[in-house]
Amino acid sequence: MIRLENLACTFDAGTPNAKTVIKNFNLTVAAGEFVTIIGSNGAGKTTLFNLISGSLMPTSGRVWIKDQDVTAHPEYKRARYLGRIFQDPLAGTASNMTLEDNMMITCKKGFKWPVISLNRKMRAYFRDQLIHLKMGLEGRMKENVSSLSGGQRQALTLLMMVLSRPAIALLDEHTAALDPRNAAVVMDLTTRFIREHRLTTLMITHNMNHAIAYGSRLLMMDAGEIIIDVSGEEKAHLTVPRLLEMFADIRREAFGNDEMLLTGGRNLGH
């Protein structure tokens, strides 16, 4: 579904400030895989998503989506295959427009012609879909999205992403800005939608427990490279201490004050 070949990305290349964010990156994600990605700040996780979605062009290497070389395609062209959700709940919706207008814009990918498709049938369809969120949004379709809470907006963004029928979902810490209760709700919705729509998914998270609990494959990134890649049986039996051990084995350095530990580490004592 996604194939990255020798991908590299350097910011300010050729200057003294040159910073290589992604180096020598090779990754193949098969259709239907649910990949969780962890790594400390600056590991290159979001840059990786930017390279896949085309909001950033690689310095070298190729990007394949659905057996098609899309390296030269601009972001809006690749968007046909991709559904992307950001950490910021405001990023996925137009806040000064109504719920139904937002859903109308996102329910179909591609160019929009000047025809009116938002009719009674469409509204009924949106209402049916909103009921699944169990947030009471089906009664607020004429309200501006800005009146929703962060959790509601992110759940709505998730729903709109799924309804636009992408082949691949890119989730960039999409629950990180929410309170624990809403984060749990959105995470439940995420897994349900991924299962129901058989989405190939890449999910960045800062939470080691999430990375282990969800998905069929786990990648750990560090300094622009994949350092751990586990799936199948091995992934099923993975624990946070085991993961940390693997990391320490590879890097042979004290794990000490790494920020990543802050979220995963709290639960270390079982």
Binding site: L90, K109, F111
Partner: protein, 298 residues
């Protein structure tokens, strides 16, 4: 005089609707307006003197405005030039283009040709006073344009326009090229502006290449005055308040022109007044936002 304010207000309302489209919906501050307004006027005047019927002249003027908008959007999209600069470039170039269209003249009187208004006057003869006929005519024209715009903003494309000014990333993620949308939007907006210029030339009885000086400022002032009168988020109200704002702006300018001498004001001060109106609107909006939202970012 009263119907004069309304007629001029309505003519300028068409231009203000164009300015509203770019400034408020697209979030694309477009200065092409200062060139596309006289462009519409000179195209109209030239085609009328060439013996074309007024409807053809209006269509040509609209088309010319759309092309002018395309140029600005293309400069911005292709060369990654900031929108303000792209607009200034087109506006400046249009000054020369407009003089060319007028066959190397700076103005063209329309005294001996049949304009839309002569047709309206001919129809009104023996029925209703001519001034009232003109007023009714322009109310109809503006109403049709307003309703067409309202309808447009309810279409799929119109909705994406709404999202574009709000959240460009969302539009891109949807697989729509923002550059194409900007091309269409800025084109349509300038088409309206040129249409307004075409009507203005016929109403004043001449086309002048300097007709557009500072017009974008008066358009913006109209939009902001409208936002004062009505608070709403519904598109029908948004376009309505632009029209009301344009009429109110014209009224204020009339007052300034006719009664300004009491306070030693001359017509030359009107542009200063227009600018101060905008600054005052901005200041009050800012104040309201800070108070209304308790300091949270809007």
């Amino acid at each position: 005089m009263l119907e004069g304010i309304f007629v001029e207000g309505l003519i300028y309302a068409i231009m203000a609707l164009g300015v509203f489209f770019t400034f408020r919906i697209l979030d694309f501050p477009d200065l092409t307006v200062d060139g596309s307004f006289p462009l519409g006027a000179v195209i109209m005047a030239t085609s009328l003197t060439a013996g074309q019927n007024p409807l053809a002249g209006l269509l040509l003027a609209f088309g010319g405005g759309v092309l002018a908008g395309f140029v600005t959007a293309a400069i911005h999209n292709r060369l990654k030039v900031p929108h303000l600069l792209a607009g200034i470039l087109t506006m400046t170039m249009l000054y020369s283009v407009n003089i060319r269209i007028l066959d190397n003249r700076a103005n063209l009187p329309l005294l001996r040709v049949d304009t839309v208004l002569t047709h309206v006057a001919a129809w009104a003869e023996n029925r209703i006073p001519v001034e009232w006929a003109a007023l009714i005519f322009f109310i109809l024209v503006v109403l049709i344009i307003k309703l067409a715009l309202d309808l447009f903003f309810h279409t799929d494309m119109g909705l994406v326009f709404g999202a574009l000014g709000n959240n460009e990333q969302m539009v891109r993620v949807q697989g729509v090229n923002p550059a194409t949308l900007k091309l269409i939007g800025v084109g349509l907006s300038n088409g309206l502006v040129a249409l307004s210029g075409a009507f203005a030339a016929q109403y004043q009885g001449f086309a002048d290449v300097n007709l557009g000086q500072g017009i974008v400022v008066s358009g913006l002032a109209s939009v902001m005055l409208g936002e004062f009168i009505i608070k709403s988020n519904r598109i029908g109200m948004l376009t309505l308040r632009v029209i009301l704002g344009a009429i109110l702006f014209k009224a204020i300018m009339y007052l300034g022109r006719f009664y300004g001498y009491y306070i030693n004001m001359t017509p030359n001060d009107l542009k200063l007044i227009a600018g101060i109106l905008i600054i005052a609107s901005l200041a009050v909006t800012n104040y309201r936002r800070i108070r209304g939202k308790g300091g949270t970012a809007a």
